[in-house]
Symmetry: C2
Subunit: 126 residues, 2 copies
């Protein structure tokens, strides 16, 4: 069952877990054999161990996620959301403009995540 | 060549052509053998003829597209954007919250489009 409400709740949980720096809780949203492509165009992280390590590193940056628009569902087993990653860089405050697309299994776990952002989506805030 | 600036310009052209109700110009953004899945979870439209027919119908609704956040690129041949489709329904003004993901060929044409929106993304404006 991958109804829209359930998918949207998992997407929101991803944001909330990230903002509590809870890498283990984020990894738990994923299926055991899930893949992460972040950013799209980079090598896949495969399986829970690689994914958990990735988020451990990601939350250690102190970055915070902020939805840019309401989470979108679909008529299939997928959902998408636009958000900003707020972080402090040596050059000052910055944000990265990202869209994540997740697919889901019947248990409501993420089977894949793709993060769309490029170099041109990194914005230094003067 | 699918650099970020070029992909973002094509995404913006898609919005602009739609808002001029120019279905032919939208279809021209696609490669000949492209596919459209709108919404994700529905049958694919395949090839230029089916895609052109789809947009002819879509622009005839008088709907207008409005970006909800800046277009995102990626480190690969893909880009994504969150927008609202504004339209008049028998029940009044409404909008559909959508995220489109496009992939590109070397000529800069869309090879696929996936539109993420579900029933829960249709919002009646009171």
């Amino acid at each position: 069952m991958t109804d829209e409400t359930r998918m949207k709740a998992a997407m929101q949980a991803y944001i909330d877990h990230f903002n509590r720096s809870d890498a283990a809780a984020i990894a738990d949203l994923y299926a055991d054999d899930a893949t992460v492509e972040d950013p799209v165009g980079s090598p896949l992280k495969k399986g829970k161990a690689e994914i958990a390590a990735f988020y451990k590193m990601a939350v250690a940056t102190g970055a915070r996620l902020e939805l840019a628009a309401p989470v979108r569902a679909s008529h299939g087993n997928a959902a998408a959301m636009a958000f900003n990653v707020r972080l402090n860089m040596p050059e000052g405050r910055a944000h990265i403009q990202v869209i994540d697309v997740m697919t889901f299994n019947d248990a409501g776990k993420f089977t894949s995540m793709k993060a769309y952002w490029g170099k041109s989506d990194m914005v230094l805030e003067k």
